[in-house]
């Protein structure tokens, strides 16, 4: 890999090349991203694969005076291929149709936030042989458990360097690290032969923050708690969401629905709800990019716009400025980008993504929440997700349990749940003080007053 100065020189060379062209260019941008990673995979509770790799790519965005975008990318980081890629982007731009909504790329900004602990030197010097110590604990955990029959897990570290230069004066670069562990454990009840799985993960900026054993223990615990599944009958009862349940039934759907692009195309169930109450006062959600050391924290997005902390829903009210924008959707709405323009890789243009997505915790213990339910359902995991344009949800509860007299009785088989999200938000009547972190999401336990459960017991 070339060093930082060589890369910057190459990008500057590219920008100069664009500036010399005679096309009707309004603005252009060069984005370069380099990743170096280590990846260790466990299968059948044994180390299976050790991998190291590198990925570098350069992407060019050019818009003309008609607002037409041309996009091109390559992984040949040399002068000639960079010129070819730029020529390609211009060719693509000229072939496109006008888009009056594409007004400009972001302009020079100087007030980038400072966030601590986004880069860990320990990850930089980490060698693959040092990484085995992290996964060994997971393997031991399953070896020492009678019911655990298998485990698939993955340990990963990544060092990422990003450079963004555009013709409007943006010139920013940054270096970040991330490390993660994922564990999927299968257990078997030796008497009934019933099997079940548990799945958990963690991602951190600093390796010393990674609690590998905790992830494994949680997976094992979840897997065991889902044995001896029983069918239940149809019922109308309170629903308690675990943090994982809150993540999939409330937080991820809201994250999709407040994506300004989805919203502008009227594909969001929150269209028309700005400034209005969409839930009970228990519902407060923010998108906060500025938390020290958190894996969802960023100083700038993939267009070079500073990231920030934004409240989305405040005590049940969906705020007027509760949408997440990149520069395109912001221009279209005559507002400013919220710094949420993120790319899945250099090979795609910036779409919209969340940073740290946080559901504010309540003031009641999770045990009290479950304890308060006379008869109800606990939902931990559904492979399903709601229809974002309608808010309708109808899905299978893959991990869940029957609650009776404030106690968890047994897990569920072939049990489904149907509800509209706006209805669900209006029925939130308790939020726990405990929360769990899933990568960049922070989710508490949440109680829903009443839902329809479709069981398959005759």
């Amino acid at each position: 890999m070339k060093n930082q100065n060589e890369l910057l020189d190459l990008l500057q060379y590219g920008l100069n090349f664009i500036n010399k062209s005679n096309e009707n260019i309004r603005a252009s941008e060069l984005f370069l991203n380099n990743n170096e990673y280590i990846n260790i995979e466990i299968e059948e509770n044994s180390i299976k694969n050790s991998e190291i790799g590198e990925e570098t790519g350069l992407a060019v965005r050019i818009i003309d005076n008609r607002g037409t975008l041309g996009f091109s990318f390559t992984n040949f980081i040399e002068k000639k291929p960079i010129k070819d890629t730029i020529r390609n982007a211009i060719k693509m731009m000229k072939a496109g149709t006008p888009d009056p909504d594409f007004k400009d790329l972001p302009s020079t900004i100087n007030n980038y936030p400072s966030i601590n602990r986004l880069y860990d030197k320990d990850i930089e010097i980490l060698k693959i042989e040092d990484c085995f110590a992290y996964v060994e604990d997971l393997i031991k955990l399953c070896n020492n458990d009678d019911m655990a029959i298998s485990q698939t897990s993955r340990f990963k570290t990544n060092i990422s360097q990003t450079f963004i230069l555009n013709t409007n004066g943006i010139e920013i670069s940054g270096k970040e690290t991330v490390c993660s562990i994922m564990s999927n454990i299968i257990v078997k009840d030796k008497t009934t032969n019933e099997t079940s799985f548990g799945y958990n993960w963690q991602s951190k900026r600093e390796i010393k923050e990674l609690d590998v054993l905790k992830v494994g223990q949680k997976s094992l615990e979840d897997a065991k708690s889902n044995l001896n599944r029983k069918k239940v009958k149809n019922m109308k009862v309170p629903l308690v969401l675990t943090p994982f349940g809150t993540l999939s039934l409330i937080m991820r759907p809201i994250a999709s629905a407040i994506d300004a692009e989805t919203y502008q195309y009227n594909r969001s169930f929150l269209v028309g709800k700005k400034g209005k109450k969409i839930g009970t006062p228990h519902l407060t959600i923010e998108d906060n990019a500025l938390m020290d050391g958190s894996s969802g924290s960023y100083r700038f997005d993939d267009e070079g716009v500073p990231c920030k902390d934004k409240t989305i829903v405040e005590e049940g009210k969906f705020l007027e400025d509760g949408l997440l924008h990149n520069s395109y959707t912001a221009n279209k709405d005559n507002t400013e980008s919220t710094g949420n323009g993120f790319r899945s890789s250099y090979s795609s243009t910036p779409s919209i993504g969340t940073t740290n997505f946080v559901f504010s915790t309540g003031d009641i213990k999770k045990d009290e929440i479950i304890g308060s339910v006379k008869k109800g359902i606990l939902l931990d995991y559904t492979g399903d997700s709601p229809n974002i344009s309608t808010g309708d949800f109808s899905g299978l509860i893959l991990h869940g349990a029957l609650i009776e007299d404030g106690e968890i009785k047994h897990p569920l088989n072939e049990t489904m749940l149907g509800i509209n999200l706006l209805d669900l938000f209006q029925k939130i009547d308790a939020v726990s003080e405990e929360y769990q972190v899933f990568g960049s999401y922070r989710a508490p336990y949440v109680r829903i007053k009443e839902v329809n459960i479709i069981g398959s017991a005759k």
Partner: protein
């Protein structure tokens, strides 16, 4: 891309020098490299959103020793890099081996030295971006002007032209010239605050002629029609029903709920309901399921291209082949890659596939199919007193350890007294995979395939699935209450 530039890196000199390095250190190695160029055109509401072109070269070196794998990924490889980094790749296999619990050897398979080529009438590299834009514009116009309820349209076209090379320590050297494309159209219709979506796609291996087939021409109209019809659809009522699945839904069921459970890595990892079931009866006598990704199926169907899920060889150099999975209700075979076949004492059967040269091959399906029976569709409907006819799906998922699955259907019609009645939307059905295979009460006589990308372990590969209309008794349907 300069023709054959990448292929020239892997000359006999390099390969024999790598073999020398590997000797006495590791037991197996392979290298996959690809040189790809492609373009994409994305339109929303009749406006170009993104028009792009790219050029990428990549390479992955895989090493193996006594049960431990190493994998090293290189950007934009050249001869010197590959030669130098090969030592590091050897080290990775040794690291894995030092920690591995299940020691095993890779069974040697026959070497292949061949060059395969996807033929096309209209080479993608000869088609200008303007022509691709015209195609996308046409679909946008068709769907957006379908009627006044259409609020939003989206069309995405992409193509790839690639040269790839595979070399391994068994002496294989396989070169491929590939080209493929896919076009996808999505339409949103709205009425009285209700929004509904229709989407359709066509993909295949070949040239630009893929876009001129009947099926490809119709996608935008079909999406618009579906979205519009769903506006007046009713919400389903939950309960237990007799269900007629169309070929798309049958294919999805065969792929998602059953096919994944046949992947031998899941068997070894004890996360499959089919563990220990080879030779046993898992379905009714009339059920036969195969996976056959060999080339030529497009021609059989009268299409001027190869099906999206087909391939010449898998990503471990094993030829694609027709594999019987269930024959007359008996489970015959699992899908294997080199590793699972070696460990389970079977022959590899061509299912080691990777999403790109920088990802490791996993056990994956190709073209999975439920073989037809002798029922005509009319007969199936006529002889169903009360039930639901489900066409197409939105998505589905399965708990692999229990076989509990759920699918969300796109278009579902009530069946009453043997007649197709009103349309319902968002019908979610669930059940247990093996119970369904034993509750099929009718199998249709005509098959069709649909194509898509299948995700597993973060990798997406091209697949097809298919089958006839089938009728299944006693399936749980969830409604909105």
């Amino acid at each position: 891309m300069v023709q054959d530039e990448l292929l020239k890196i892997f000359d006999n000199n390099l390969i024999s020098r790598l073999a020398d390095k590997a000797k006495d250190q590791i037991e197996y190695w392979d290298i996959r490299a690809s040189s790809k160029e492609g373009s994409s055109v994305e339109f929303t509401d009749n406006k170009s959103k993104e028009i792009s072109a790219y050029q990428i070269n990549k390479c992955g070196i895989r090493t193996f020793l006594n049960g431990g794998w190493g994998f090293l990924v290189l950007e934009n490889p050249n001869k010197q890099d590959i030669f130098n980094k090969f030592d590091e790749a050897i080290k990775l296999a040794k690291f894995s081996e030092s920690m591995v619990k299940h020691n095993f050897k890779i069974k040697e398979s026959d070497s292949i030295n061949e060059r395969f080529e996807i033929k096309s009438k209209k080479n993608l590299l000869d088609v200008g971006i303007e022509e691709k834009i015209e195609l996308v514009k046409h679909h946008e116009k068709t769907s957006s002007t379908f009627n006044s309820n259409i609020k939003n349209t989206h069309t995405f076209y992409y193509d790839v032209t690639a040269q790839t090379i595979f070399v391994n320590s068994f002496g294989s050297e396989i070169k491929q010239d590939l080209s493929l494309l896919r076009i996808y159209n999505e339409v949103y219709a709205a009425k009285n605050g209700l929004v509904q979506r229709g989407r359709n796609s066509v993909g295949g291996l070949g040239g630009f002629e893929i876009t001129t087939t009947d099926k490809a021409k119709k996608i935008s109209k079909k999406s618009a029609k579906q979205a519009t019809e769903l506006l007046d659809a009713k919400s389903p009522i939950g309960g237990s029903f007799t269900l007629i699945m169309d070929p798309k839904l049958t294919g999805t069921f065969i792929h998602e709920a059953f096919g994944h459970a046949c992947e031998a890595d899941h068997i070894l990892n004890k996360e499959s309901i089919l563990e220990g079931k080879i030779g046993k009866k898992v379905a009714l006598d009339k059920v036969t399921i195969i996976d056959d990704p060999t080339m030529g199926k497009g021609k059989e169907l009268g299409l001027p291209y190869e099906l999206y899920g087909s391939y010449f060889v898998d990503d471990e150099g094993i030829p694609a082949q027709k594999l019987r999975i269930i024959e007359d209700g008996i489970l015959k075979n699992y899908l294997h890659n080199l590793e699972t076949a070696s460990r389970m004492g079977e022959k590899p059967n061509g299912h080691g596939r990777a999403s790109s040269s920088t990802s490791k091959p996993q056990v994956r399906m190709g073209i999975t199919l439920l073989q037809p029976g002798d029922w005509k569709l009319d007969e199936i409907i006529e002889e169903t007193n009360e039930g639901i006819l489900c066409e197409d799906f939105q998505y589905g998922y399965t708990d692999p350890t229990s076989g509990n699955f759920q699918f969300k259907c796109k278009m579902s019609y009530k069946i009453e007294n043997g007649e197709k009645r009103e349309l319902m939307r968002d019908v979610a059905l669930s059940g247990m995979t093996l119970e369904v295979l034993n509750r099929i009460s009718a199998i249709g006589n005509k098959i069709s395939y649909s194509d898509g990308m299948c995700g597993k372990g973060g990798q997406g590969v091209r697949v097809c699935d298919g089958g006839p209309y089938i009728r299944v008794e006693d399936i749980t349907v969830g409604g909105l209450g």
